[in-house]
């Protein structure tokens, strides 16, 4: 199959430029919306799927680019790596966006592109002369919806592209039209306005909220939401949705008004608005909406962490806000079982206040969950140093001690078995491996000793 289409392409191009162009123009389809012959496609090998990529989809292709002279200027196969990009978003040449959206999975085609849809009158200083038509051979290997979050919990596919480079930020007010479906059944259909970060107040799930800052005005897209970003393990009775269901929302962003960014606000605005944001966060925390609470507390930090304030009093107020926000975040992340973020936030608190009881306690809890028993015990001991009356910390220390003992027992069992195995094998092998460990240990110890003794300058 590979040989087939390469030969065909080369044959077409063995003729000189104008001849090749007219051959492709005769055989091919004009893909341009206004039919100006700017992008003409010849299918070399049809795809094996009816579906075509949607705007925003992450598509993966192999391609070869040539001038009309036949000279190759770019080839992904030579790099031995397929190329991925988001289709229809203006990341690539116009001809590519138009071309790839017309292809099917597995399709191989040739695109003849006029300069207006390729490198224009400027060309590409490196490789392409001005006003050059070019030919791309493309193979569409795969495509999938665009993942908007790191965990793949929100995947977007765009039906209608929006416009403009401005997007809703946290705090922006948006006007949307929603259609929510579960297993194809429509359960929610309405026009609604909400504040980004606070969609929960209008019964709009987290996934839709988090997608807002990637949407353009006028965009209509499908959002595929995993339960974490939908209705979670509680489900939603009034929509008759059970626990842990995937849902799909079709969202049209009709209009929005951005909120001021941190750098657009002066210190007074921020200090005035911070208490309100903190309360909002606290509200969400009380009702168990930890993701939403996190968003509010993080807003405070993004506003204030770099601010010094204009006087001692204001500076202290700012520090307090930031410290409390980090402490609250630590607690939220504990509930969300996101332990590394707990530790990060506690560390930030301790940078500001090195004897913060709550920070030590919460960090200890996180470390306990991560089975870092030694470190956890240290943290709880610090809690007692700061506040000897903290009974909870004493209990935690006992738990740590028990866990440490348990693990030592386990380790002993494991190593006992290991030694057993070694002993049954070659006795010399056993001796060498023990010595190796001891060797490393001692090298480490010697280094420490030498450094401490001040050997060297």
């Amino acid at each position: 199959m590979t040989v087939f289409y390469t030969m065909t392409t080369d044959q077409d191009l063995l003729m000189d430029g104008p001849a090749a162009t007219s051959v492709i123009a005769a055989k091919g389809i004009d893909l341009t919306p206004n039919k100006d012959q700017g992008v003409i496609k010849v299918v070399q090998c049809p795809g094996f799927d009816v579906e075509r990529p949607m705007i925003g989809d992450r598509v993966t292709v192999h391609y070869t680019g040539r001038l009309l002279t036949g000279k190759k200027f770019d080839c992904s196969r030579e790099r031995k790596e397929p190329f991925s990009f988001n289709a229809g978003k203006g990341q690539v040449l116009k001809s590519w966006d138009i071309g790839v959206l017309s292809m099917q999975r597995g399709e191989v085609c040739t695109l003849l592109c006029k300069p207006e849809y390729a490198y224009g009158s400027a060309g590409n200083p490196d490789k392409i002369p001005p006003n050059a038509s070019v030919v791309f051979e493309m193979e569409l290997l795969s495509f999938e919806g665009e993942s908007l979050t790191d965990d793949g919990g929100v995947v977007r596919r765009i039906k209608i592209k929006g416009e403009g480079y401005s997007q809703p930020n946290d705090g922006a007010s948006v006007d949307v039209y929603l259609e929510g479906r579960c297993d194809g059944r429509l359960f929610d259909s309405r026009n609604v306005s909400f504040i980004v970060g606070e969609a929960e107040d209008k019964g709009v799930p987290l996934g839709v909220d988090r997608a807002m800052d990637k949407m353009q005005k006028g965009e209509c897209c499908l959002l595929y939401l995993k339960p974490k970003y939908g209705f979670g393990s509680k489900g939603k009775a009034e929509y008759k949705i059970g626990p842990d269901r995937d849902i799909v929302y079709e969202v049209t962003l009709k209009d929005f008004r951005r909120a001021k960014e941190s750098w657009e606000m002066d210190i007074y605005e921020k200090v005035n608005l911070a208490p309100g944001v903190k309360n909002k966060g606290n509200q969400y925390f009380k009702t168990g909406q930890y993701h939403q609470a996190v968003i509010q507390y993080q807003r405070i930090i993004s506003w204030l962490e770099m601010e010094c304030g204009t006087g001692i009093e204001q500076h202290q107020r700012i520090q307090e806000f930031v410290l409390t926000a980090h402490l609250n975040l630590a607690l939220c992340f504990l509930r969300l079982k996101d332990f590394s973020h707990v530790v990060d936030n506690c560390n930030k608190v301790l940078e500001l206040d090195e004897n913060n009881e709550k920070a030590f306690y919460r960090r200890g809890e996180a470390r306990l969950y991560r089975n870092e028993f030694g470190l956890a015990k240290e943290d709880f001991q610090k809690v007692l140093q700061v506040n000897p009356a903290n009974q909870a910390a004493r209990t935690q220390i006992l738990i740590c001690q028990n866990k440490i003992k348990e693990h030592h027992e386990q380790d002993k069992k494991i190593y006992a078995n290991m030694f057993q195995k070694f002993a049954e094998q070659d006795a010399k092998v056993c001796k060498l491996s023990v010595l190796d460990w001891k060797d490393k240990e001692e090298a480490g110890r010697h280094c420490e000793d030498h450094r401490e003794r001040g050997v060297g300058h």
């Binding site: 391609y63 190329f83 990341q91 224009g120 480079y165 280094c447 050997v455």
Partner: protein, 449 residues
Amino acid sequence: MALERFSNVVQLCQALPESRYTAEHHDSFTAAGRACIQEGHCNDVLSILLDEKNQDTVSCMGWTLLPPLIQLLLKKEDQNLPRWAAIFTHLLETCRPKELLIGLLEQLEHSDPHTAAESLHLLLKPLQKVLLRLGSRKASSLGMTLSSVLDQLIKLPLPLTKEQEETDEFSVCRCCIELADFVRPFFQEARQSLSSRSDRDCGLEDELRAELLKFCMKTLSHLLLEVQLRGPDELTESALRTFATHILDGLASVGEHLHSLVFQPVLKRKQVPGFLEEEVRYPKASLASVAHLVFVHHLAADRFPSIFSPVFCLRCNMEHVFLLLSSTEDPKLQKGLELYEESLVRLEDGSLPADLLQIRTFLTVPQNMVKVMTLCPRHDLRTKGLKVFQLSIEKFDTEAKYRLFQYILRTSNHSGVEGYIIKNIRTQIHVALQVRPRSFSFSAALTSN
């Protein structure tokens, strides 16, 4: 006498197992051994160290002899240099890698700018040898070494002109070549581990890649951003250009795509505020340096796909340009202007829509340009700034020009710049009055203001 003492302590240790060496043994060995070296007893020291019976002692304590030995080797005056070199080699092969590393790095860190180049020249190969002996546990040691090596390299005065690069008076170019040789096997290891991923090694190999990435990023921001690279038409063979290419190749070895790095400002997902993990891993200055090397110097061109839209490239590069033009250092300003110019020339005149002005950098970069044009002490940079500024104006469509002019008139606070803008407005009105039909009434919009 030092030689006697050294001989004695070595004989004492011969009889004991390693675990019975005391602090006195260590101290005697070190003091006596160093004195012997300083007194020049190379033959005797060599024969003691090579003696079969002393190998355990040497492997345990030999590394402490490095400081005076390296000082000697650096001076290069001694006629017994080959003997000292032989002692050095023997120690490198016999002593424990981690201890050798400490000894070598301590010597490296103590060099001043005058001796930095010579220290690097002497110590890079030994460091490489020692690190390779560490096998799969080398990652953190490699990281520490690369950091120290770079710190020394950065101390050296960089060549400012083509002639200075050719004469290489301060050996910067030579050091870069030697550094590239130094890292080569480690990049190779990273490349191989990437192509044959096995779950078992994932942790260790990830660490290695992370350290190499850190090294590339630091080199890009601290060294390559400061130096001026010469193109092939100016300087056919350029050690610095080759070095820069090696660094870009190195990024590929650790699995980073150049286009992902350059376009990261626009393509990355939203970051949680306060947790700048991505910013630490991919410092903005380093990314700007990559963009400059790729777009202005066309390095690693075959690895950078040429199918990105020029407008998209501009959008991403604006972030890098903003960073560079916010600096007060001439090399960075120059690179900012060059990157901006290179991104603009690929566009058609009048093709950028007013929508783009919604993006913050499209307003902050012109502000920075105004600063360069009016405040930069260097005349050639001010001139270039003006040239690129005018070029940027040409690329916007009529509506965008109008908005941009408004913005600059409002924010520049400089009569010269205002005058320049007004001149541009006159040109636009002239053009608008001549073209029929008028798609956007420039003069009408202006008079309504």
